[in-house]
Amino acid sequence: MKKWLSLLLILTFMLAIAACSGNNNGNNNAGTTGGNASNTPKETEAAAEENFKDGKYTTPITLSTVWGLNQSSVFKVGETIEDNVHTRLIKERLGIDIKYDWVITNTNDAYKTKLRLMLSSGEKMPDIVVFRGDLETVNMLIDSGQFMPVGDLVDKYANETYKAGLDLDPTIWLPISRGGEKMALPVLDYAYNGDHVMWIRQDWLDKLQLKAPTTIAEMETVMDAFTNQDPDGDGKKNTIGLATGFKNGFANWMTDIGFLFGAYGTIPGQWNLAADGTLEHGSINHAAKKALTKLNEWLNKGYISQDSALFDEVKGSELFTKGEAGIVFGPNWLPAWPFPDLKNNVPGATYKAYPVPAGPDGTIGSQGGNPPSNGYIFVNKDSKNPEAILHYYNWFFDNIANPQPGSEFEKGFAEGYDYATLPDGSITADAAKYPDLFPGLKDQTAPPLYYTLTYEGARIPTLYADTHIKLAGGAEPTTPYEKQEFNTRLKENTDAMKVVMDQVEIRKKNYYMGPLTETMQSKNELLNKLLNETYSKIVYGQQPVDTFDEMVENWKKSGGEQITKEVNDWYNSVK
């Protein structure tokens, strides 16, 4: 009896193991190899042009691609990435039949891995490959030689909106340039969104009867008052001037301290364009030494937290949202997050965005202004209709990116997917509340824009900033996009975007946009550790400021010089 029981137990175990190992193979959509690209010779461009009339291919064409399915893509029952409202509409409107050679669920970079496998096995690529991710893979795709330069395509087929987005910052082409040729189409994203402003507790300024600082010296006066004159009025000395955290480096996406280096003329942790036109690493610029001296002074005077070196951006921002610090540097959207916490912790607290302050000689510098691209589209050089993807992208720019009132896509992409109309005529996106209006969906909407070959349909880089400048000027929101921004963003957010745009010229972008160089791969760790350790120890007074010069020498000796050379070689090859 017992024996049989144990036997049964064993069998169950075995089955469980078998089931587990079997699962892995189930999901693979066993991609057909190759792709369907041209067996016939390339058609002449004239023929292709003839075929495309009034925004549509008269004889439908096929556009093959491969796809990594992200979690943001939600599908209705019965729909897949291969067949859904988006593919049907594109076929109907543009005469483009999108064909997926393979589709993979993009967890743990599965899409990237599969792309790389395709490359290494020399498989033929589909008509287009879209990729968003590391530059190593981008490089591999370009180096595979299977894709064509796109410069002529853009000149000939891209519409004005896309061209304007690309022209906003010519360095957008740098990562994908090869010997003067542009090797991929950038997927555009909203610009200026990461650029910083100085956020100040307005109620503290008013209480202490101070005016907002415009220079570092004035800022010190304000910070001193915030630290020593009890701005929160609780009778305790429990406030500080500036919320910052440099655990992850000295130029951060929030709670930034890079502005102080910028005030002396460098931005640490990135490659800046030096006066002689070469690229130099911002951390070893001598200006950084002055900034570190200043920072050490601020720490000693209690203007910044004694724990700043232990805090990352999020932790650092808590100093501000707890009501402990009076100033923080960060992007325009901080009122959406994390500032609501401040309102919860300190009822009645108010804050306002101000321009980044200037250094002793009037220099202002803040990281940001990086080109507004997020991903690339590669076009197969053997593709029969290489221009098709531009017609596709154009269509989204024209119809979806910023629909005008009364236009077809004013409310959204498709009724019952990303929006639904209520009986009273208003629009809702609440699929959990109105399940009847979203048939085939459960609790959440299925925005078809996430199915698009360009990731989010089309984004006009300047649209976000332009909209907020318009709204900040007091104009009424008219287009659906403006209404949405007006209704979802706080006034402080809108005003901050204007501050960003008023200071557009102070942004210092990272000029190195290539993949990790050979020396970077072996030496980056050593060099970053050297920089961060010396920086922190100087700020904390654990090492004298003059060890900065020693650090610079060490940095150069330990591979920094070689990396500088590699970076400049890259820059010369693409500029």
Partner: protein, 319 residues
Amino acid sequence: MDSALNKPLPQAEEQPQKREAKPREKLSRTWPLHLMLLPAAIVTFIFAYVPMSGLIMAFQDFKPYDGISGSKFVGLEHFRFMFEYPDSKQVIWNTLIISGLKIVFGLIVPFTFAILLNEVRKMLFKRVVQTLVYLPHFISWVILGAILTDMLGNKGIVNQTLSALGMSNVFWLGDGDWFRFTVVVSDIWQNFGFNTIVFLAALSGVNPSLYEAAEVDGATRWKQTLHITIPSMIPIGVVVGTLSLGNILNGGFDQIFNLYNSLVYDKGDIIDTFVYRTAILNGQYSFGTAVGFFKSIIGLIMIVFSYRVAYKFAGYRIF
């Protein structure tokens, strides 16, 4: 008493005779047990032995898209790089100090605590304490790291207490020596409950008749602890110690990673955090594998060594 002590002995002598005499018959009786072992053996084989083939990467210039079969062999290049790297000595030294302290105190604290807890008469109290000290074991360091950063901060509860007592603030996580102290203490706080349970289990296995005999002989509670409890816990202590010695080069990645910062690189950076920055962040997978390989070899040597030592001095065999 006498009969109770004598009884097991004849049995123990009988059994080996049986086994030697009829091995085939023995197998026919025990095969379900062997079969039950099979799933575990298969899982171990698949997840512990098969991945070992990946160690080949340590001798290659591994490129993910070329795969193991396509990557170029570079011999011992990565091992050379590891030992020539300027920070290696410091990082290995940090690891040895931090994990050495963790191992020593990670043995002493639960050992003592188990003995103390064993003396508690109230079962309810004992159970509650046992559960409470075990709980932190389940909290991830991502969370503990944030909590500790708060508690040990300049305005945290610990420093506030210190200044209330008239002492000066301590920069727990920003000063190298205090950082080591914090790491070791917080690690022991997190994990001593787990080993306490192991030791308590060993204590419950001590033959009560030994205590009865000692009491008859007039031994005090202290003498009983000294001459019965501690000696009977030595073997399990040796096991725990031996197993942890294999981890001598693991300083506890998730803990250090969540607590360290650039101020304490010189005293707190360990092999694993160093490998994370070099191998993972900069894509040097081969180098990471080489370091992992090196660590495993040292771990194996340490286990063999401590096993021998344990056998020699405590007369205890694990395997």
